[in-house]
């Protein structure tokens, strides 16, 4: 077994408890240590780190959109320096296999907060980006979970979120379009949750088309 991040082999002491443990490990201890999980207290809704019950971002969205289309966001890691580096290797260098490093924690988070059988919607990617990268990072994450995927959404608008300010993101047009009717319950899967505008744009469309409960599961909350 090799660590998916540092490519070193993972050594494991053989004890009675590990002898019959055939689970595949994908992360070594030293790499795991550097990934920082989100700790309490956080916003109830979007897991932003805050002392208040509902963070200012979520309050703002409620005012801005009248009703927040997103019911809940679950994130796992914080966006520390190490995570930034991993993300850039994953997304900009196109290192697909790194996704397996987060497999365990992503699956755990899913099972802790959601029930099986709900459709997953990976945020679609613009065609030019998928051409460069060769994969959609949100879909790579969604495939870790072994749940049915919903593929009825396409991206029409061009984006590069990370280069935009908050206000530019808010005032942008909805970049998505629905081409199929969504199921009742949907979980949106994405890699990063920053202001939540991307996820909320998608959620807005889903709700309008008749979805009842739209949550999101994102790897990183920054």
């Amino acid at each position: 077994m090799h660590c998916k991040i540092c490519l070193q082999s993972i050594e494991k002491d053989t004890t009675w408890s590990t002898l019959f443990d055939f689970r595949e490990r994908t992360l070594c201890l030293s790499c795991d240590e550097q990934l920082e999980k989100i700790r309490e207290p956080t916003c109830k809704k979007c897991m932003k780190r805050t002392e208040e019950k509902l963070c200012s971002d979520c309050m703002f969205w409620e005012q801005h959109l009248g009703e927040d289309p997103l019911d809940r966001n679950i994130s796992i890691y914080t966006y520390n320096e190490y995570m930034k580096e991993m993300m850039s290797r994953f997304k900009y260098r196109g290192d697909y296999e790194i996704v397996y490093a987060w497999k365990d924690s992503f699956q755990q988070a899913f099972h802790a907060h959601f029930s099986k059988g709900i459709h997953l919607l990976p945020i679609p990617l613009a065609e030019s980006r998928i051409f460069d990268r060769g994969f959609n990072q949100a879909e790579a994450l969604a495939r870790l979970l072994d749940q049915p995927l919903f593929a009825g959404m396409i991206r029409t608008g061009q984006e590069k979120q990370s280069k935009r300010t908050k206000w530019e993101r808010l005032s942008a047009k909805n970049p998505f379009e629905l081409i199929e009717t969504p199921p009742e319950n949907v979980i949106i899967i994405d890699d990063l949750f920053t202001t939540g505008s991307t996820v909320r744009f998608a959620a807005q469309l889903l709700k309008k088309a008749g979805a009842k409960c739209v949550s999101s599961l994102t790897l990183v909350r920054s």
């Binding site: 090799h2 082999s9 260098r93 697909y96 060769g134 879909e139 495939r143 593929a151």
Partner: protein, 463 residues
Amino acid sequence: MNANPWSPRFSGKRLLKNELNLSETVFQGLLKKGNLIEIPGIKEMFFYNECQRCHTRKPSHFGKIPTETNQPIPHKKLRSTKSITYCRNCIQMGRVSTYEPLYEWNGPASRPPKMKQPSVWRGELTPLQSKAADAMVEAIRNQSTLLIHAVCGAGKTEMLYRGLWIAFRNGFRVCIATPRADVVRELAPRLRRDFPSIEVAALYGGTQDVDVNAHLVVATTHQLLRYSKSFDVMIVDEVDAFPYHHDKSLPKAVARSVKPCHALIYLTATPRLDLKMASRLKQIQTISIPLRYHGHPLPLPKLSQVFKLHQHLQKGTLPKKITHWIEQRKAAKRRFLLFVPTIESAHALSKKLNIPYVHSESSNREELIHHFRNQRYEALITTTILERGVTFPSIDVAVIGADHDVFDEAALIQIAGRAGRSADDPDGDVTFFYNVKTKAIVKARQYTELKNLEGKKFKKEFD
């Protein structure tokens, strides 16, 4: 000068499409003309894959990207395959995969112009240095292989000048490859100063320099992965250092980056077994330089045993012997380097002694080294990253925990070689603190004794 405008940029390189940085029409045109040839990124053999850039074959270094997805990937070649195989070992330089091939220049080759007067350097070489320099000139003329086995502080850089001079006069392309980026940063300005009319490109991770048909490329070994059949003269500095041994892919990269007819020069103070054997069997011509450029013997490491040293380090306390050594340095106003085996112990010691520390992951590594060199700091704690290549004029050195695995014979010899480098202050104190005397410690001391003996003989001959 050259008929083909792209030739200087791409001649002798092996690059990805986005590294070529060409517009689609120009790119297609060059491909059609046969000036660029496509090389499959991953060689798929029956039992293994091989990355055609970094030459790794380890199965764990390859990843797969599935192509059957929700959102179809708009690429016609992909329709038939289930997944793309890509190399994870060299992904920091851009992804090489079964559908992202590498490109090599196949058009008219370009050579750097011949220089009439490449150097302004007017220094003198010692008789020993001169011997090595002549051997190197010979090797460049005959395009053969040479091993220069010179002790630390023998003045290796100056030895190269005569050979470089000849190479530049003949319009040869020269590469100096070294395992560490710190060394590139130190070496390149020195060479630019002494060869002002020469085009020098310093390549390491995060550099701004580009190599457009430069006379001289000073690069870390990883940067060699972007070259193919490029250099007439290849100088490999510190052949024995980490990433070279245990890693077959870098020697392969060196072999690929030179032209079919080339001169290959290895520089080292501590050759590994394979080179030693080749040299004993007279397969490689060898020049041995046992004396430093200032003619003084190497400082002999003092051995000092400290009981329960590692327990002390874990607790964050310091044994008396070591505090005494440090106090002695401070009283004598001597600057010193403390080598420790691990980053954690560097951190703990730094807190205790109030001395800054550097390690391979320090974000301000260059700055700290720079400050120590400028005498802003009196002392510095370091892991093995400063073991070789860097020169601080007049310092003392101690290794705390010299019996740790990271300090092998070569590392200890190199560390001892940091002391007494300047002619004004040829003696530095070198002390190894250890709990258990290891073979490496004994060997490192024997090596120093042996070299000093050899040096004495040479001195007698020349006097």
